[in-house]
């Protein structure tokens, strides 16, 4: 199974997946399959969402009260579970986003000089 395509894909850390789910839901209620699809598409297939971690992650977010789930009818008239961001979740998204930016910035600052050192 170790194709080239799969090697390029990156598995997500738990906390990161939470952040991406919250970000995806900001646009409105979405069902489970669409969340996975959206993350994969918007990351241009770099990020792969394991179903094994998507559902536990969704339930973890529900338990924390950041998202809620409700019954709904999807575009092709099928009943499905829609996940939606709660007010608490919206606040959490801001917090998580700024945390992520800090982390990414910090890691970038550490990595960049290393690259230049290597080049010199």
């Amino acid at each position: 199974m170790s194709t080239k395509e799969q090697q390029e894909r990156i598995e997500l850390l738990q906390g990161t997946l939470d952040l991406l789910i919250l970000r995806t839901l900001r646009l409105g209620p979405v069902h489970g399959h669409a969340i996975a699809k959206a993350i994969e598409m918007r990351s241009e297939d770099v990020l792969q969402v394991e179903q094994g971690s998507l559902y536990p992650a969704l339930h973890r977010l529900i338990k924390r009260g950041w998202i809620s789930v409700q019954e709904g009818t999807s575009e092709n008239n099928r009943r499905a579970k829609f996940y939606r961001l709660t007010a608490k979740g919206k606040r959490q998204l801001l917090v998580e986003t700024s945390k992520w930016e800090k982390l990414a910035g910090a890691i970038a600052r550490i990595l960049m000089p290393a690259e230049s050192e290597g080049e010199s």
């Binding site: 399959h33 669409a34 179903q51 094994g52 559902y55 536990p56 579970k81």
Partner: protein, 877 residues
């Protein structure tokens, strides 16, 4: 519990959602794959493959909704239950001991809760205060009922009080149902219900209803009302109070009977001088009661009243210092508070002893289970896990103990309700309510943690590799830390129980002393009943005199009756009328008249035969005779202590007193009689002023009869005789004087019986504990004893060895216990009568009792030790 139930049901719902979601996901993926051009079968297979292990996803998601610690706790509990079931003897003994301790605590706390902790059933009860003392008395210009209104008006000028009322309690004859009866009644000023913050159903009294002639309205208690019908029907209907028609305007909510056990409230003033032995218009029977404004403190209010009452020149007088402003609870509970806390403290000792016993049992078990624990530790169980496991087990024991204790407590509540003195004010009924349950839960948990601590501590000390190697017979560690811990526990038990024994001994001795106190008269073969004449019928004093004389004549003629008399106040009847009156003394003497509280004496009207009937000795002068009637010169008799207070060593005979009022109404003192104790056997004798009934005919009083044989035998006969005189006159119960005395001793009996029970429990638990330790020690030392006997030790040597060990422990316990008792007895000093807190006899007796019981507990295992067969013992290893 409901939170967990919600959690579980939520988990179930979420898991169902998940299944649906997974199906949805796979269908969509399949659809996507079909759109990408895969054939349907393959598209579905690809979708399933992409999704991966459905079971795994379900498991992982389920874990989100699970609390690991909860499931582990459940495991611990199940394991604990299994271990306890495997040791039924140990479990039963431990649970029984705790049940006794927790049960006694729960029962005692339910009393404390009902009296001291349960909020009084009025809004903001902390702002309700009683006013007592001279400023009140001095402000009453004329102590007739109208004086109460003046007083109320005067106090309304103060800014500290939001509302102010005056009440006066007594008994009335109530007709309206089939038979007239005595009912506790209270006359109150308009704002009375507002002070308490509870309004009647219907309406309260109106301001204009305090004017004479318009005040024939009444508010009934819920209980009284129910006898006539539903509140809605009763309001507006008339009731006959003392022969006069009153209209019911309101009904109080169920449970409201303030003050005391009042059943009917009427406005002050009534058109007559009512109730409780009103001998004189000059006597003050009012109790002022007020509600403080929010934010006003007691001191502030007290200062204001005193500023208003006294000119600056009189500041700091005795009268001022005697003025008291008492919060409602303080006024109601008064002396009961220290008693209850003391008993609760005592019963806590019992629980501590029970905990020490269980800790000892657990320690003994810990040694036996040492290998089990060590093996489990070696297999990788963390200390935390092992400790938690131990804790789960001990908490189970304490939980069962708590449940069993709760059962014991609820069984004993009936007996406790009987034992609680009837005048102890209950803010709520004595029962096991939420507060008591919370207490029991907390106590069970705390004791579980307390005795569970010891084996856990021991577990931490144990050394893995050594324990595994040892054969399980841990003489070294047994003699060391473990043995010391167990001895320490045993010593504490003995010391605690000795403190309780001393306390119980002191209470028993005071109770016995109280029984020996002479009430000032002969209480044998005295029958009494309360009489309360209907004022409508007996408005005229000659009619009342006729009634009394007729009844006395007929009763005295009954066979088995030696003599009979009427009195307005009966000693020890519990109905002490604190008839405060300002006694004036004619300027005939050089002795200074007392000030302040001493101006208050007990005012009693009696028929001529009273002193002879009760056996109160005449000390000087003469008794009342039939000649002391209307028209004759007014006479008075004083009690010895009153004579002493007003005239010192001078002869009071021939002196004159008046009951105050604008026009002195002089009465000549014709006799001095012995003191009697009214408020209780332990109370000081009352300063009492007696007046002849014929000159001061009351509406109420007691018929007292000295009988030849058992007093109760003639009660029915007396009842018939009284009905012959007036069949409409309601009769109270007949009580012998001994019953009155027994009632008056109820508070002392209450604390004595309870503390004795606690001490007996404590002693039993401590002795059982010592017995357990000694038996264990003997069985551990079987080998050693065998060696000693093989070397030639005789049975009595072994006996001395073992009993000596128990004796040593006991002596240390006695030493510590005596020190503890010395430190603690002073808390009981206000509750003792005729016994000093450091009563040597009590201390010696308690010590002997503990020592004897302890020696017995050590002797039994010691005798078993002497039966050891050396050959068997040596092979015992």
């Amino acid at each position: 519990m409901s939170r967990w139930a919600r959690l579980f049901s939520r988990r179930k719902r979420m898991m169902e959602d998940l299944d649906q979601d997974i199906r949805d996901f796979i269908e969509r993926e399949t659809q996507d794959n079909i759109e990408r051009g895969l054939p349907p079968g393959e598209a579905r297979y690809a979708a399933l493959r992409k999704f991966g292990n459905v079971t795994r996803v379900r498991e992982d998601t389920r874990e989100v909704w699970t609390m690991v610690w909860l499931e582990q706790l459940w495991q611990d509990i199940r394991f604990g239950l299994r271990t306890l079931r495997k040791a039924p003897g140990f479990t039963a003994v431990a649970v029984l001991m705790l049940a006794l301790g927790i049960g006694a605590n729960t029962a005692m706390f339910s009393v404390v809760n009902a009296v001291l902790l349960h909020p009084l059933p009025y809004p903001h009860p902390e702002r309700i205060v009683f006013l007592w003392g001279a400023p009140i008395v001095q402000r009453v210009p004329d102590p007739k009922p109208s004086g109460a209104l003046v007083l109320a008006d005067w106090l309304m000028q103060t800014r500290s009080f939001e509302n102010f009322a005056v009440e006066q309690s007594g008994e009335v004859n109530l007709a309206g149902a089939d038979r007239p009866e005595h009912v506790k009644a209270s006359q109150v000023t308009v704002d009375f219900f507002r002070v308490l913050g509870i309004q009647p159903y219907g309406r309260s009294f109106l301001a204009e209803e305090s004017t004479p002639g318009r005040s024939q309205v009444a508010v009934l208690s819920d209980q009284l009302c129910r006898r006539f019908g539903a509140p809605g029907d009763v309001i507006g209907r008339p009731v006959l109070v003392n022969g006069l028609k009153f209209t019911v305007v309101g009904v109080m909510p169920a449970g409201f009977t303030f003050p005391g056990k009042t059943q009917i409230w009427m406005p002050l003033p009534l058109p007559w001088t009512f109730a409780a032995s009103h001998i004189s218009d000059q006597a003050i029977y009012f109790t002022p009661i007020a509600r403080l404004r929010p934010g006003v403190g007691l001191e502030q209010a007290r200062d204001e009243v005193i500023r208003l009452a006294f000119p600056a020149s009189q500041a700091n007088s005795d009268a001022e210092r005697e003025f008291e402003l008492k919060p409602l609870r303080e006024a109601l509970v008064g002396n009961d508070r220290p008693v209850l806390w003391l008993l609760l403290g005592a019963v806590a000792f019992v629980l501590l002893i029970a905990c020490a016993d269980v800790a000892n049992l657990l320690l003994a078990r810990a040694v036996v289970r040492e290998r089990e624990m060590t093996v489990r530790a070696a297999l990788g169980a963390s200390r935390l896990r092992l400790t938690r496991q131990n804790l789960a087990e001990t908490l189970l024991i304490s939980g069962f103990g708590g449940l069993a204790g709760l059962l014991l407590a609820s069984w004993s509540l009936g007996a406790i309700r009987l034992l609680v003195p009837s005048n102890m004010p209950l803010a709520a009924p004595i029962r096991i309510d939420g507060g008591v349950l919370a207490f029991t839960l907390a106590v069970s948990l705390a004791s579980g943690l307390l005795f569970g601590l010891f084996p856990s501590l021991h577990a931490y000390r144990s050394d893995l590799s050594r324990s595994l190697k040892e054969s399980g017979n841990l003489d070294a560690s047994d003699r060391g830390l473990l043995g010391r811990t167990r001895s320490l526990l045993t010593i504490s038990e003995g010391a605690l129980s000795l403190v309780l024994l001393v306390g119980a001994g002191l209470f028993l001795r005071s109770f016995a002393r109280l029984n020996e106190v002479s009430p000032g008269f002969n209480p044998e073969r005295l029958l009494t009943t309360q009489v309360n004449l209907a004022e409508g019928v007996y408005q005229d004093s000659s009619k009342r005199n006729e009634f009394y004389e007729s009844v006395l004549q007929r009763v005295a003629a009954l066979p088995g009756v030696r003599s009979a008399a009427f009195t307005s106040n009966l000693p020890l009847s519990g109905v002490v009328v604190t008839s405060a009156f300002r006694m004036q003394v004619k300027e005939e003497s050089h002795h200074p008249s007392p000030e302040g509280d001493s101006q208050f004496a007990l005012l009693t009207a009696v028929s001529p035969g009273y002193f002879r009937t009760l056996g109160i000795p005449l000390l000087a002068g003469r008794l009342f005779s039939d000649g002391d009637r209307d028209g004759a010169p007014k006479a008075a008799i004083v009690s010895e202590s009153l004579a002493h207070a007003y005239w010192g060593s001078e002869n009071p005979l021939g002196k004159h007193v008046s009951l105050g009022g604008p026009q002195p109404d002089w009465r000549e003192i014709v006799g001095v009689v012995g003191d009697t104790r009214h408020a209780g056997l332990s109370a000081e004798p009352s300063e009492e002023l007696y007046l002849p009934l014929r000159q001061n005919t009351t509406w109420t009083g007691f018929l007292t009869i000295r009988t030849e044989g058992a007093p109760t035998l003639i009660a029915a006969e007396v009842r018939r005789t009284m009905a012959e005189v007036d069949r409409n006159e309601p009769l109270s119960d007949f009580l012998t004087m001994q019953e009155h005395i027994s009632n008056s001793m109820a508070p002392s009996r209450f604390r004595t019986v309870l503390l004795s029970i606690f001490a007996a429990l404590a002693l039993t638990l401590a002795v059982v504990g010592l017995y357990g330790v000694m038996s264990y020690s003997v069985s551990r030392r079987t080998h050693e004893i065998g060696v000693r006997m093989a070397m030639g030790a005789r049975g009595e040597d072994v006996l001395r060895l073992v009993v000596g060990e128990g004796f040593k422990l006991t002596m240390v316990a006695v030493g510590i216990g005596l020190l503890g008792a010395l430190a603690l007895v002073r808390f009981s000093s206000s509750l003792l009568y005729g016994v000093r807190p450091l009563d040597p006899l009590t201390f010696v007796a308690a010590t002997l009792a503990l020592t004897a019981a302890a020696l017995l507990a050590a002797y039994l295992p010691a005798r078993r030790a002497t039966k050891v067969d050396p050959m068997v013992a040596l092979r015992y290893e």
